[in-house]
Every structure is written in C-alpha cells, then in structure tokens.
Symmetry: C2
Subunit: 426 residues, 2 copies
C-alpha cells in the first residue's frame, strides 16, 4: 500500500491523505494511517506537504513516436511539411525506432503530469513495448490508411486486427485497444465500415481524425456530396460505438447536430491546429450542446511537445480572444477537458481522484514562484503552471519520484533517441 500524507486537493481545504491499495485509490481522508490501522511495515509513505495532488491528465490524441521528429520543420504549409519531412522520416521507421520514440514520449508525458494517452500510429509492437516498460497507461490503435486501394485495405485491416488481439491477449490493466481508421479522406467507405464493425465486435472505441482542414472537407464533399460527419452518419459509422474525433476544427451546424445526437467525443487540439494553420475549433458552440470535449497534443511534429497543461491554457485562452468574450471556456472547464472528460471518453476510471478509481495520481510541488501565492490553485494550474510535476503514480505504482523516472533510466533513453534521430535524417 502507498499512503500519500498531508497533501492538498483542488476541491477541499486543508491537507488530506490518499491511500492506494493495488492499482486503486482505497481511501481519501484524514489521518488514514490511524483510522485504517495500517502497520508501518505495510506501507510506503509519500510526504505530500507543500504539494497538491491532482488526477493524472488524459491526452486523447497523440502519435507518440513522433517525438523523434520534434523540430525537424516548422512554419511551412501542411503538404510541404508532410511530403518533404514527415513522410520521408516515417518511411525509415521500424519497430525499434518506434519503441524508442515511445519511451521518450512516455517520459515527457509522465514528467508533465499526463498518465493516460490515446494514440494512433503504426509499428504497434514497438509502442506496446514502450508503454509496458515506462509504466504509462495507454489506449492504442493501429492507424489504418488504405488510400482507396483494395490491397492496402486488406493489409490495414489485418494489422489492426492483429493489434487488437495482441493487446487483448496481453491483458495488461494499463493498455487497452481502439480502432483507428485514420480519416474519411484517407480511408475508403469499405474500410470505414469494417472499422466500425470491428469496434462493435470488440466493444472498443474508434479514434479518427475529423474535419481538421478546409481542404479535406472539400475533398469529401466533392466525393460524397456530404460534409464528413454527414457522410459518416450516412454509413452508420456512429451507431453503437464510442467515436473519439480528433480536431473537429471546421463544423457546420448540421454536423454539430449529428455529433450531439451520436454522442461523439471531441479531442480538441488547439496548439496543433494553430501551428499547422488549420484554424480554431468552435468549442464554445459544442459546449452549448453539451458535446463532451477532451484535449490532445497531437504528435510532436506539429506542436512540438506533449505538455497537456499547455493545451489546457490554450483551450481557455483562444476562444476568449477570437470571440472577444472573456467568460468563454473558464479554467474550470478546460481543466475538466483534460481530466474527467478524458477518462470518460476512454471508458477508464481515471481523470478524477475518487475512492475505488484507478490510482493515477500526480503530485505538484507548490514551492515554485509561478504558483505563489498558493491560493486559487486550479487557476494556477490552468493559467500559470508550466507542467513540471514532482511525483506520479500510475496504476498504483510510483513511476516518477522527486522529478525522476523510477521505471526507466532517462539518460539511456535520451542517448537512444539521439541515435534514432540520426538514423531518420541521415
């Protein structure tokens, strides 16, 4: 058992204890050692004084191995970025390199308070290996792209099926599978249909890119006569499954109506959308309709980090600024995007500190100039914090302590990542 002693919580005054047993939060209260009659030899005590405990953040849209592409190209148009940099480097990837990129990304996320991520990529064996070793929690999907070619489609379906089965056989409490058809403009109608069937068959979520750019919407419209959400709705894509739709930057009112009716979950990626000049998602409109919004960083090629606290701040800032309304998306709300809503979206008992829930807990040292005065802590975490955390538990295990990874040797990963980068660019 682990006892976090005398820690502050966001919603309550004073200091509290959190007792963790196995991979779950057993009790939250005061003086738990005495109340629960726990012997010293049975527990590891973490001193929570001068700390605040928050639920680990949930990043609902990533391509984790892209950490290796950090900074290779910025400030250029999307197609130039893809053609001249990203696709060239991706063609050189293999399982080993993807594994290294995953380890690097897991360290970065854990150190910035993210304990769960929802990923779409390829070479999934490498990602699974990195997730298992690092101690992070993940929902993983193989990103299917058939470009409307039948032979590619069959291969992609096979890869996706293999991934799902492998993850299910692993039976790890920390890894769940999802189905990842890349996007309506890269996947045929047949592939989208199969993806939907697979998600229903295995009762797992779908993770898909939706309405990221004006170009792709135009493409779909020319092909199908419909906007992307209308098109997917017309083929029954949302029926009986949880769909996590990343980006959702450009939406018609009719599409928003479909999202509301079909319980679509949005992964809002404000920083990536700004950097690639895709635009600004109409989040306030979605909130009016009670459409659940979560947050994602996207991959490190277009952000260029995995610090979800930046997305929280951006989600609260950007909509105020473009609408000239300072009351839009209050800090309270954007913080919920990254915690409670993320957990719910992925059907995981994470994103809130609650007895019986999974023990994914982040401790933040409050003795930082940007967190002082130590009042209005939720405001500080949204508007002032940098995303540098002290201690992290995931699935009841300590993976970060005093700012240092306990599960893996950081410097070795950094060295491996440098070598991996050279292989990708040379």
């Amino acid at each position: 058992m682990i006892l976090i002693k005398d820690v502050r919580l966001l919603e309550c005054d004073g200091n509290w204890d959190i007792l963790v047993e196995g991979n779950r939060i057993k009790r939250i209260g005061r003086n738990l050692r005495e109340k629960e009659g726990i012997e010293d030899r049975d527990i590891e005590v973490i001193d929570g004084r001068n700390m605040v405990a928050i639920p680990g953040l949930v990043n609902t849209h990533t391509h984790i191995p892209m950490t290796l592409f950090r900074g290779v190209a910025d400030d250029i148009p999307l197609m130039e970025w893809l053609n001249n940099y990203i696709w060239k480097m991706e063609s050189k990837l293999n399982e080993e390199l993807v594994y290294i990129g995953t380890l690097l990304g897991a360290i970065e996320m854990i150190k910035s308070g993210t304990t769960t991520f929802n990923d779409m990529y390829f070479y999934l064996d490498g990602i699974v290996k990195g997730v298992l070793e690092s101690g992070i929690r993940a929902v993983l999907s193989y990103g299917m792209i058939d470009l409307f070619q039948e032979d590619r489609r069959e291969r992609e379906i096979k890869n996706s099926e293999k991934t799902v089965k492998k993850i299910m056989e692993l039976d790890s409490p920390r890894i769940k599978a999802a189905i990842g058809p890349h996007a309506p403009y890269t996947c045929s109608r047949e592939l989208l249909t199969v993806a939907h069937e697979m998600a229903r068959e295995y009762s797992i979520p779908i993770h898909i890119h939706m309405n990221e750019t004006l170009d792709e919407i135009k493409m779909i419209k020319e092909k199908t006569g419909m906007r992307p959400f209308e098109y997917l709705d017309s083929i029954g894509f949302f029926e009986g499954v949880r769909v996590i739709a990343a980006h959702c930057v450009h939406l018609s009112d009719r599409e928003i109506g479909i999202m509301e009716k079909r319980d679509v979950v949005v992964s809002h990626n404000p920083i990536s959308n700004l950097k690639l000049a895709s635009g600004i998602a109409p989040i306030p409109k979605l909130l009016e309709r009670d459409i659940p919004v979560t947050l994602g960083t996207d991959g490190c090629g277009s952000n260029n980090n995995l610090n979800l606290f930046e997305e929280i701040k951006m989600a609260s800032l950007i909509h105020k600024g473009v609408s000239l309304d300072p009351t839009l998306v209050p800090g309270e709300v954007s913080f919920k995007f990254a915690t409670l809503n993320g957990g719910r979206a992925l059907n995981l008992e994470v994103g809130v500190l609650k007895e019986g829930y999974l023990a994914d807990i982040v401790l933040i040292d409050l003795r930082k100039p940007y967190l002082i005065p130590v009042e209005n802590l939720k405001s500080h975490l949204v508007y002032a914090f940098k995303g540098v955390v002290d201690t992290v538990l995931i699935d009841g295990k300590v993976v970060l302590r005093d700012g240092k990874m306990t599960s893996i040797q950081e410097h070795k990963v950094y060295e491996m990542a440098e070598k991996a980068y050279r292989k990708l660019v040379d």
Copy 2:
C-alpha cells in the same frame, strides 16, 4: 572573470567558450583559457556541457508587483475584473508589499530566462529595492494616471519626476528610467504633453498602453474625433522620443502608417490580450512595414505568469491560426521579438550574445525530454520549451545557478509573498 566552457550556441555548430569580464562579454571563441592566457585563480568556470547559451530575454511590458494578484480572478469581463478585484487590492498596496511582489516577480523571470523587464507601476521605491536585491535588470516607469483632473495631474508629474531623478542618482548599471503615461484614455492631453517633454528632457523612453480594447478606442474617438495614434501624433507625442506602445491590438491602416513613420516600438502581449478578450494584434501587418515588435507578458493579473517563452510560442502560433497561413511569424522571428528587438527597444546592449555587449546570459540544460533530439534548438526553444532554465548571469553576475537563486533566499520570498497576499485579500 567568469568563463562559460564548452557551451552550445544557437547560431553555430559545436561547443564554445564565453568569457565574461566585469559586466560585459569579453570574448566568444574556442579554448579561451589557453588563448587568453588566463590563470585558474582569476576565473570562475561554469561547465557549459549539455547546455545551450542564449541571450537573456527582454520582457517589454510588465507590472511586476501584480505577481501578488496571481489567480485572484479569471474568466470575467475586464471592468468587473478591475472594479471587484484588481483596484480593490491595489488600494491596499504599499511600498513594502510592492517590494515583495517585485522580488517574487524577479525570481519568476530569472528562473524562466528573462533578464530585463520594462515595467510600469507605482510605489517605485519598492520596485527599485526589489530589482537591486534580486540582481535583475529593469527599465522602470511610474505609471501616471490623472483621469483628466488637474490636482491628480500635478501629483502624478511630481511622482514621475521624483522616480526618474532617484533612478538617475542611483547610477546603477542595471536600472534605467522611463516615462510612463498610462494610456490616452486615462491621461489628459496636458499630462501626455508633459510626459513627452520629460522624456525628451531626460532622453529616456516613453512606455504607454495603446489600443488595447475597442472600448477605449471608441472613447478617444468620441473625445478627440481621432483614433489614439492619430491623436497622439497630432500633439507631437512621438517627436524625438522612443515610444514603447504596449498591446496595439486594434489598429487602423492609418495608425500603422503613423507607427511606421514615427518609429514606434510595439510590445505585443498575445496571452494577456487573449485572456482579457481584448483581441489579437495584427502583427503580420506590422512586420510587413518593418515596425519593430517586442514581447511582453503584462502583469500576473491577466496572464497569469511572467514566462516570456510562452509569449514567444504564442506569438508564432496565434497569427498562423487566425490567418490560416502557417508561414506567418516563424519561430526565428518571434524569438527575435523577445531578444534582439527587446534590447534595441530599450536602448540596452542586451538581447544578443556578442563581444562587448552586457553579460546577460542564460544557460539551458538540454537533458530534458522535450528538448530531445537535441537538434533544431531554436525550434525547440520556441515550440517545445517550458521556460525552465539552469543558470543565469545578469550584468556579469551569476544570479541563478543549477536552478537556484544565488542573490536571494527563495523560500523567504515565498513566505513573505503568502503573508502579503493575506494582507491584500483579508
């Protein structure tokens, strides 16, 4: 003398030495100890391996004591924020509290790589004391507001004059004075004229808020029949002085023409402008006209931190996103806003690492997951960095070493700040 050994620089390959003598950079080169024939006993050596050295950042618009107001109110309209929170707390301020807020702000800035700030506030004796003790560099102005009342005007002019004289008498290499008429909507024409005369007389810059909100522009237009920059130009406000205009969110083409002709320097505050829902400044348009742009955080009431690296990232992101053009304000350019342009704006030999320039140097430890692969360093500093620095020299003196302040005891300042906060809210 201080020798920074084997450090990386942004513009050059390999490792370099930086030799600091007195308060200036004496040499930048390789193997300087041998080349310059320096004896060991004469130098303090700083190991720069695994570090990059950059010029200290220049924050051109702050109200530093407002660190004490961090997080008191967010997500509400400007006038409610001012009336119900900020002005109430400001009325309780005194020299001692302002001094404490200044120390807290100086620590926050130094730890995030800012070595110079351009401030406008009141109780200047408290600010001067905090700046002297902390080791940071500052350009300070007393913020004059007469609200069109003659008696207030006289008092404000006296306070401003007293401040300028005191700073000049101090003759500190780290503190310069500026003249700070608050804004055209809070200062009478008479006050603006006196401010201009004072700036000319003392040959120091003017620091002023300009065109932050649509409301204030409307107010000026009703009063004078002109937009703010036209009005100021009509009274000769820009003649023969350097004017640093903070915000500049809403500008007509004619106003941009005046700014170009009168060599006005812009302090772009993108985060504050988003948070208070003021809007988004037309920076790409200003760049087309070669109007110099610098960056400011504004006060901690509206940001809520002093981390200028966030402004650098935001300055590169926001204009891409709203214009749907990913090539706008490249990272290279926003980084220059916060360094070279800031130094030039304040007429200080800072903002660039150059022999003969002031030794305001920041070392950043590269062994962080978000800076790996350690390539494309400038991109990382703009798009991936969190603003956590390792070592800082200001005016040739080490003020931060291994992440810890050497000039002041951090924990004491934090305790003082907590007590100060209680005095302001109770």
